[in-house]
Symmetry: C2
Subunit: 160 residues, 2 copies
DNA sequence: TTGACACTTACCCTTAGGGCAAGGTTTAGC
DNA sequence: GCTAAACCTTGCCCTAAGGGTAAGTGTCAA
């Protein structure tokens, strides 16, 4: 009985992810089961719990699944990937800095326009091809560095 | 000859986007051509240039294509969508604030771990199931608010 | 007429899974 | 033993905003 194995649901519960996620990780070469039952059910061991948690930890630092697989590849081929991981962490932090700046710029622009638009009186009568004078008033120069970076997803309900 | 129309490439050039983008916008219901030639080529007018620029301006504020279509729907159905746009801008700015906080947290964690890992001596000999003691040392508590927010995309070259 | 481009549709690709469907398996209650 | 619930399997379509490529057609100038 030291041979206790886990079903995919049990592993999912222990690792704090969904079964779908575990199957996806498997297709990405990150977490193959220890084996299958005669009825083709996946079977995992306790080391799989650790590996799943490892993946979650790496994800929490912003590593993608492809990068995590790369880490596993390094570890399997020979040496500890720690040096590479440390380097990547630095690069990621730097990239984040740029990304944060972009988002802050966007937020500032958004707030600035919102205040300006709120102060102006808007003509609720539109010309034939007009849509929204607020947005139309944005200067073309602002399109240079269009923050091609995120969806933002503010609340979305109705707009009547 | 006041009837000058534009090919898709000309519109793309004037609007500063790719022809692929224009076709994509069309499939999303944002920018249908004025008509087609007898050989099925799209034909646009100068008002399409304005509309394309409008879409770019809205995108530069973080609006998605679905939201922009919603703005067009409002404008077509009756009233100026400016009120809704102003409201959405506020919501977006607020959502951005949260997003920025997440990224800053991530950056701080990344830098903190990087410094810690650099200071520690890493045993470049791995146990059988071990992968990377750096990442493995992350406490499970850190997985609570796993910043499910962005890929980050730091430089990626090699890692030997 | 032919070569160089422009235009058309259509299909696959990107992240990290979510959702659903159709079918097989296991377990608990009766 | 039977049946229903819960579990497992694979497979397919979906997300945002296009990029890349391919195959077929159109246009223009030399």
């Amino acid at each position: 009985m030291g041979e206790r194995t886990l079903s995919i649901r049990q592993l999912a519960q222990e690792a704090g992810v969904s079964t779908k996620t575990l199957r996806h990780w498997e297709t990405q070469g990150l977490l193959a089961p220890a084996g299958r039952t005669h009825t083709n059910y996946r079977r995992y061991t306790k080391t799989h719990v650790e590996r799943a948690l490892f993946i979650r930890k790496a994800q929490s630092l912003g590593f993608t699944l492809a990068e995590i697989r790369h880490i596993f590849d390094l570890a399997r081929s020979q040496k500890a990937p720690c040096d590479a991981v440390i380097r990547w962490a630095g690069e990621k932090a730097q990239a984040l800095e740029g990304q944060i700046r972009l988002l802050q710029d966007l937020r500032v622009r958004l707030e600035r326009y919102r205040r300006r638009w709120s102060a102006e009186k808007k003509p609720s009568r539109l010309g034939p091809t007009e849509v929204c004078q607020c947005i139309a008033s944005i200067p073309i120069q602002d399109l240079r560095a269009a923050s091609r970076s995120l969806p933002v997803r503010g609340g979305e309900k109705d707009g009547s």
